[in-house]
Symmetry: C2
Amino acid sequence: MSEQQENVIYVGTKPAVKYAAAVAAEFENGASEVFLKARGRAISRAVDAAEITVNRFLEGVEVKDIKISTEELENRNVSSIEILLSKV
Amino acid sequence: MSEQQENVIYVGTKPAVKYAAAVAAEFENGASEVFLKARGRAISRAVDAAEITVNRFLEGVEVKDIKISTEELENRNVSSIEILLSKV
């Protein structure tokens, strides 16, 4: 048991429902908080995954916090998002 | 003067820098808060626009709040985002 462990799902190019399922699995394995993280165009998909998780897959889980930032990747700036999902 | 007026920039398919410029213009015209709103794939562009506004265009403006939700459009669900930018 490692309650301090950070549970992070990185969102890429798969369908959003796959990431929502991965988030649901983390909560079902006992996580109390799960982060969805994405960069660039995958940001929209991370939002989709969060909405699918909260509205369709899991009861008692809410969007607790959303942060956006800019990362430098290969000398260009890329926006990123972190969506924190938490048990109510 | 209508201080209660809601200043909203809707993000579509133009380059993110155009929306960042529109946000900057709202602040320069006296707004204390501006919303960036987007749906679907434009969500990533709204995040880009917010980051460009805060990091490159304007000093003393911060991301104050971010909300995501789901809207029903033509019988399908579409994710949406609202990014609230505010003078510090």
